[in-house]
C-alpha cells in the first residue's frame, strides 16, 4: 500500500482489507481518540449531557442505517422499537430483578424479535409499501405502550433505578454525566466497530446486494427473505440497545419519548449524515441532536433584533428541522459524509482537481 500524491494504491489484499489505509487516517483517529478522552474533563454538566444524548443517538442511528441505508428497507417504526427496548429493559431490571446488564441484553434480543416480526410484511413489500407498513407498526406499538396499564402499573410512566453495572453504582449529580459518558462511549464505539465490520462479512454484503438489486441478488444465490429478516433483527437489536440506554440514563420511561416524531428524527439523522454510511450515521446523530440547542442559542442571541424568533421557538425549531431535511435531500442527497469526503479528496489530490 502506498499513499501517493494522487490517491491510494493497494498492492496486496491485506492492505485493501484494512479499515484505515493512510497515515493521515491514523493521525485523525488519534486526534479523535484524544478529543473523546479529554471531553468529560473540559465540558460542564449541561454540554456533557448533550454529549451523552448524542452517544445514545449514535447507537440508534447506526442501527437504523443498517436497515435503511444498507439494506434499502425504509422504516418509520424506529420510535416503537426504541420503546420496546426501553420498557423491557426497565421492567426486567427493576420489577423482575434481573441484573441490569442481563436485562439490557434480553431487551436487545426482545427488540430484535419484535423488529423481525414487524419486518415480515417486508418479505412481500418494498419501498413505499414497506414505509407504510412500518408506519402502522409505529402506531400499533405506540398504542400498546399508552394503553397497556401493566407496563407502568397504571402510573403512565415508569421510574427506573440508577444504573448498577457489575456492582458499580453510577453516582450522584456531580459525577452522574461523567460516569455515564464513559459507559455510553464504550458502547457507542463498540456499536460503530461492529457495524463497520458487519459490512465486510458475507452477511453485510448480502444486505447491500438486496438494496442494490434484489432480483439480481437472488439470482447469485442470496437468500432474500433471510437477508431481509436478519437486517430487521440486527438493526432492531441496536435500536433496542439505544432504547434500553435511554431508559436507564433518563431514569424515567414514558410514551412521549417514542412517538412518530422520534422515528422521523432518526430518519433525518441518517439522511443528513449520509444513507449507507456508518460515519454518516455518527455525523447525523451529532448534527440533529445539537440542532435544537443551536437554534435555541441562536434565537436567544438574536432575540433583541428579531423577537419573533425567540417568541415562536418551538415553531422555528420545527421549521428549521423540516427545512434542513428538504435542503439536504435536494442539495446533497449523500449527506454530511459526502461533504467530508469531498473536503478530504480536495486536499489529497491537491494541486490537481481530480
Amino acid at each position: 500500500m502506498a499513499a501517493t500524491a494522487t490517491g491510494i494504491h493497494h498492492r496486496s489484499y491485506t492492505s485493501e482489507l484494512r479499515l484505515r489505509a493512510t497515515r493521515a487516517e491514523y493521525f485523525r483517529l488519534g486526534l479523535m481518540t484524544v478529543l473523546l478522552l479529554i471531553l468529560p474533563f473540559v465540558l460542564d454538566n449541561f454540554w456533557l449531557s448533550q454529549a451523552n444524548l448524542i452517544l445514545i443517538a449514535v447507537i440508534g442511528a447506526v442501527g437504523l442505517n443498517i436497515l435503511v441505508g444498507y439494506t434499502g428497507q425504509i422504516s418509520l417504526g424506529q420510535g416503537g422499537f426504541l420503546a420496546v427496548g426501553a420498557y423491557s429493559s426497565a421492567i426486567l431490571s427493576d420489577r423482575i430483578g434481573l441484573p441490569t446488564p442481563l436485562a439490557i441484553l434480553v431487551a436487545v434480543l426482545l427488540t430484535a424479535a419484535v423488529g423481525t416480526f414487524f419486518g415480515l410484511p417486508g418479505l412481500r413489500l418494498k419501498g413505499l409499501y414497506l414505509a407504510i407498513a412500518t408506519l402502522a407498526s409505529q402506531m400499533i406499538i405506540e398504542f400498546v405502550i399508552r394503553r397497556w396499564d401493566w407496563l407502568t402499573l397504571g402510573q403512565g410512566y415508569l421510574n427506573v433505578e440508577r444504573l448498577n453495572l457489575f456492582g458499580f453504582q453510577i453516582g450522584g449529580r456531580q459525577v452522574f454525566e461523567q460516569q455515564w459518558y464513559w459507559v455510553l462511549l464504550v458502547l457507542a464505539v463498540l456499536t460503530v466497530l461492529t457495524a463497520r465490520n458487519l459490512f465486510r462479512t458475507g452477511l453485510g454484503r448480502s444486505f447491500m446486494a438486496v438494496r442494490d438489486q434484489d432480483i439480481a441478488a437472488e439470482a447469485i444465490g442470496v437468500n432474500i427473505p433471510r437477508a431481509k429478516l436478519t437486517a430487521f433483527a440486527v438493526s432492531s437489536g441496536f435500536v433496542g440497545l439505544a432504547g434500553a440506554l435511554t431508559a436507564h440514563y433518563s431514569e424515567v420511561v414514558s410514551w412521549e419519548k417514542f412517538t412518530l416524531d422520534v422515528s422521523i428524527l432518526y430518519l433525518a439523522m441518517i439522511i443528513v449524515g449520509g444513507l449507507g454510511s456508518i460515519a454518516g450515521a455518527v455525523y447525523g446523530a451529532i448534527f440533529m441532536t445539537m440542532l435544537p440547542e443551536l437554534i435555541r442559542q441562536l434565537s436567544l442571541g438574536l432575540g433583541d433584533t428579531l423577537p419573533f424568533l425567540a417568541d415562536e421557538l418551538p415553531a422555528v425549531r420545527n421549521a428549521v428541522f423540516g427545512l434542513v431535511i428538504i435542503l439536504f435531500l435536494i442539495l446533497e442527497p449523500r449527506g454530511l459524509d459526502r461533504i467530508w469526503h469531498r473536503i478530504k479528496d480536495y486536499f489529497r489530490y491537491w494541486p490537481f482537481r481530480y
Partner: protein, 290 residues
Amino acid sequence: MSTFINQLAYGLADGSILALAALGFVLIYKATGVINFAQGEFLLVGAYMFYTAFVVLNLPLVVAVVFGVVVATLIGVLVERLILRPMVGENPISIIMVTIGLSSLLKALVQAFYGTSPKRQPPILPTGSVEILGATVPVNRLAAIAIAAIVLTAFTVFFRKSRHGIAMRAVADDQQAAMTMGISVRRIFALAWALAAVSALIAGVLVGDISAVDNNIAAFGLLVFPVVILGGLDSVPGTIIGGLTIGLLKQFTAGYLDPGLATVIPYIVLVLILLVRPYGIFGETRIERV
C-alpha cells in the same frame, strides 16, 4: 337503532372527508409516483387559508372559497416545482423523506403564524339537526357527505371526459408514451399537485367546520394511508370505498367498543391488508422484471 343511525352518519361524514384527502394523495401518486406524507398538512394549510380569508380578512363566502382555491393551487404548484422536481430519479426513501420534511415545515409555518389554540369560525354548513328513523343527525354532517360526493363525482368526470383528465391518465399509464404524444409531463405533474391541494383544501374546510380550525386537522394526513392501502394506491374509486370503510370502522369501534381503540384500528386493518392483499381492492398488481 337510533344510535346506529347516528354512528352511521358520523362515520360516513368522516369517511367522505377521508376520501377527499385520499383523492389528492392518489392523484399525486398516480401521476408522479410520489408518496406524499404532507397530505394532512395540505388539509391544515387549506383550512387556515380559508379561515384567513373568511374570518380575518372578512371576505364574503364565495370570494373566500375562490381565494382558498387560488392559494391552494399556488402552493401545490410551488411545492412540485421547488421541492419535488429536483428529486426526480432519486430513490423512494429520499422522496418519502422530502415530503416528511415538507410536512414538518408546513406545520411549523402554520403554528408560527396562527399559534396552537383552536380558531372558531362562523359555520358555513347549515346547522341544526334532522330526525332520521328516530335518530337526531346534525345537518352539517349530511352536508359534508353531500359536498364530498359532489366533489368526488366532479373529479371522476374530469378524469374520464376532459382533455387534461385524459392526459393525466395517459401520463400515469406510461410517461414515455405520453411524452411522445405531445403531452407536457411537467404540466401534468403541476396539475396533479394543484388538484391534490384543492381537494385537500375542501377536506380541510369541512373538518374545520365540523370541529374547529386547529393543528389536529393534520392528523387526518396519516389516516390517509389505511384508506389508500385498502382501496389501492393508484385507484380513484378505491379512495371512496376505502375512505367510507375506514370512516365507518373508526366510528363503530369508537361507539360500540372503545374510543381509544378507534385510533389504532385503521392501522391494524392496514397491516392485515398488506399481509393478505398488498395492492388493495382496486390497486394494480405490479409485476417486476429485471
